[in-house]
């Protein structure tokens, strides 16, 4: 765990982004909640409605709230035009602002309701206008309580901002999500330590301001505010430097293969002088649109995924036809350039232990039909509802004795222990190689293809330098090579490596196999 002390100093830019995002959300929430609280203080109806709405928002999980802004902003493009960002800072800011409203609003409303009525009568009695009463009496007397609400909101917001990673906004959630996926606990811990440290620091600073307001100590109040302002300014400054030229943003979804490929692509671009930035751990649903809107420049997507989810097709054409249709559709509809296929598939496939397959004499799905009524099939929790399963079942007339659901990790264990005879595996999964499994052939082509494709956003679609740097990867990665790299990251023994190291190994082996010069892939910094 000493690693985290090496990781932490490298999180500076994530920290800056986290501070700017959280501070903006809290600032915006204050701008909304404080006037609303004043209004609520004068109308019990407004008070009830505002507090109910703010409470309702709290019942939505933060992760869902963040994700909900993507379709919302997408539909708002009809009004504000195509320039409206649907990912990144804007949706993160909106979701976190909503999240921060409740504690600020509730404390401000309660503070006002609990003001001494005699003091309010005196304010009227000495001839204050409503505005003077608000600024000279109500606001200063409520300030410590309002500040307590802002403190609560800050701690919540800094915590929830780690989830902004999933919608493409850099934050301290980046190392957490990346670490969770690749089971790199030092990375997870570093992200948690940094965000918890930030939350504690903010809480203590705001506490100083709160006490300053309560004790009417100008020194504490303005001192605390000064330090907060300095922190935000420093974060803004850190963000503004280095971002003058736009980097090439490489996305990865939340599984190991994606992290490895992102590092492989990034290293190649850096080797020829491009500045790159990784947006790791994105929700699968947002990556496609993010590339289409150029919020992200490069992603690796799979033909079967795009075919079903974005072309909305239910048929299952031959592999080449599917790829070419997608390539043309992406270019025509989204301006996204599909540079090519990497060479391997990450598809659903049926796998068996090799000894069991040999014993039953099974090498393809056709062979399986006769043996199936005595066998148990295992799948991930959604598999038996997916069109892939229905297609295979109907094409071959497969009837198993039993079908069982397993979490993906346990599926392989079930196969080893004999609790399942056949499982629905993922073709590029490292465990196929590690467990020496047999992947059954699909002679009828019932399973859709999931060719990995390199997608370029409209912004860099015409960039010859990018194309030249990445073209050597096209058709270069065999499924065996990908399995090996995935296994290196997923394994839990001493040989476990980071996605970056796995990408370097993969690049080396590609160079050996193809004889291509893939260039220097390690960049010392």
């Amino acid at each position: 765990m000493n690693d985290i002390w090496e990781i932490l100093p490298g999180l500076g830019d994530k920290l800056a982004a986290h501070v700017v995002l959280s501070a903006s959300a809290i600032g915006l929430a204050m701008l909304i909640a404080l006037p609303m609280a004043v209004w609520a203080g004068r109308s019990p109806l407004v008070s009830r409605i505002a507090l109910s709405l703010a409470s309702l928002v709290q019942t939505i999980p933060a992760l869902a709230l963040l994700a909900l802004f993507f379709p919302l902003l997408l539909s708002l493009r009809a009004v504000f035009g195509e320039g409206l960002p649907t990912l990144g800072f804007l949706p993160a800011l909106m979701a976190l602002t909503l999240y921060a409203l409740l504690p600020i609003l509730r404390n401000a409303v309660t503070a006002q309701a609990n003001l001494d009525p005699e003091i309010l009568e005196a304010a009227d009695g000495v001839g204050m206008t409503k505005w003077q009463k608000l600024t000279l009496v109500e606001a200063p007397l409520s300030a410590p309580f309002i500040m307590a609400g802002i403190r609560t909101a800050s701690v919540w917001t800094i915590g929830a901002a780690t989830l902004a990673t999933t919608i493409g906004q850099p934050s301290l959630g980046d190392p957490i999500f990346a670490g969770l996926q690749t089971q790199n606990w030092a990375l997870v811990l570093a992200g948690c330590v940094a965000s918890a440290g930030l939350a504690l620091a903010a809480d203590n600073l705001l506490w100083v301001i709160e006490v300053g307001l309560a004790k009417r100590s100008r020194w504490m109040t303005f001192g605390g505010m000064g330090v907060v302002a300095l922190g935000i300014l420093a974060a803004l400054w850190a963000q503004s430097t280095g971002s003058d030229e736009r980097r090439i943003v490489i996305a990865s979804k939340q599984f190991s293969e994606q992290y490895i490929l992102a590092q492989l692509i990034g290293a190649r671009l850096e080797a020829v002088g491009y500045a790159v930035e990784y947006r790791d751990g994105l929700g699968s649903a947002v990556v496609h649109s993010a590339v289409a809107s150029s919020s992200i420049d490069i992603s690796v997507d799979y033909t079967g995924t795009v075919w079903t989810n974005y072309l909305k097709r239910e048929d299952n054409p031959e592999r080449e036809v599917m790829y070419e249709t997608i390539r043309d559709w992406e270019w025509r509809e989204n301006g996204v350039k599909v540079l090519g296929r990497l060479g391997f598939e990450n598809a659903y496939a049926f796998a068996m232990r090799s000894d069991r397959a040999k014993e039953l004499g099974v090498t393809s799905l056709t062979d399986l039909v006769a043996a199936a009524p005595q066998l148990t099939v295992g799948g991930d929790p959604e598999f038996f509802e997916r069109p892939e399963w229905i297609a295979v079942r109907d094409a071959y007339g497969l009837r198993f004795a039993e079908s069982r659901n397993f979490a993906p990790t346990f599926m392989y264990n079930a196969l080893q222990s004999g609790e399942a005879d056949v499982i629905s595996a993922y073709t590029s999964d490292g465990r196929i190689a590690a467990d020496k499994l047999v992947v059954l052939a699909d002679p009828k082509g019932a399973l859709p293809s999931y060719d990995a494709m390199l997608m370029l956003s409209p912004r860099i679609a015409g960039d010859a330098g990018v194309a030249k740097a990445l073209e050597p990867l096209i058709g270069a990665i065999s499924v065996e090579a990908m399995r090996e790299a995935n296994l290196a990251v997923d394994r839990e023994d001493g040989e476990k490596v980071t996605p970056k190291a796995a990408a370097e190994q993969l690049a080396k082996s590609l160079g050996r196999r193809s004889g291509l010069d893939l260039g220097p892939l390690t960049k010392k910094n």
Binding site: I119, E121, A122, A123, D124, G125, V126, G127, T129, R216
Partner: protein, 257 residues
């Protein structure tokens, strides 16, 4: 005193709160320079009537004239700067030191009171000018009410209205502060209306006593007239209490060996 024009005039004032009628039609004028006590039991409507003067309460019907103008037609903030208001709760602003509390009325009008004037006002209510920098929570109840009186006087009001001003004070402080207010009334040539439930206080301090019962004005007499038996049954019932106490005290005094 009767020759002076009325500074304050209640003209058919009725105040209803839902089903409850707090003030049920009051007609009365108060001459400039007079010290009027408004006496009645709890719930008789005396505080409500007083608050119609600085529009903290708006009458349901009727009107209140201040120096000939309907108070409803004046800007509340401006009206309240001309009417000094002291009430039982005092209502000092806890976040302001004493000096800022006293200076608040003029400050709202855009005038900054010099420290000498603050010292003078503090001296007027017999407080040490060094108290100017203290916060209200460092003062005793009596000191706080003195600051309340100083705050009401800071804007040189034409009228001083007081709602049970000494109700929360101990008897010694209460008597001293009552006498002080009466003295200031004379010295500054004020017109003062004081609400109290204590008839003895009213008789000793005021030149005119109005008695309210169930929202109506039931008596209007000088203290001397009341002591002579005028003003009707309700007023005499209130006068009877301090009179009997005085008689018993005198009797005990006489028995002293």
């Amino acid at each position: 005193m009767t020759t002076a024009p009325p500074l304050l005039q209640f003209d058919g004032v009725i105040c209803r709160f839902g089903e409850v009628t707090a003030v049920g039609g009051v007609n009365c004028s108060i001459a400039a320079g007079s010290f009027v006590a408004l006496v009645g039991a709890s719930g008789s409507g005396k505080s409500t009537l007083l608050k119609t003067v600085n529009t903290l309460v708006e009458p349901t019907e009727g009107r209140v004239l201040f120096a000939g103008e309907d108070v409803a037609s004046l800007k509340p903030a401006r009206l309240r700067r001309r009417v000094g208001y002291v009430f039982q709760g005092v209502g000092l602003f806890p976040h302001f030191p004493v000096a800022e509390n006293i200076a608040i009325g003029p400050r709202l009008a855009g005038e900054k009171l010099p420290p000498e004037r603050i010292a003078e006002l503090l001296a007027l209510v017999e407080l040490d000018p060094a108290m100017a920098t203290r916060k209200p929570d460092e003062l005793s109840g009596g000191q706080r009410q003195r600051v309340g009186v100083a705050r009401a006087l800071a804007g040189e009001p034409e009228l001083l209205i007081m709602d049970e001003p000494f109700g929360a004070l101990d008897p010694v402080t209460r008597a001293a502060l009552g006498n002080k207010v009466r003295e200031l009334h004379e010295r500054l040539g004020l017109t003062t209306v004081m609400v109290t439930h204590d008839m003895a206080e009213a008789l000793l301090l005021a030149d005119r006593v109005l008695v309210m019962d169930a929202g109506a004005l039931v008596a209007d007499a000088t203290p001397r007239e009341l002591l002579a038996g005028a003003g009707g049954a309700e007023a005499q019932a209130l006068v009877a209490v301090p009179r009997e106490q005085a008689v018993r005290l005198a009797a005990m005094e006489a028995q002293r060996p």
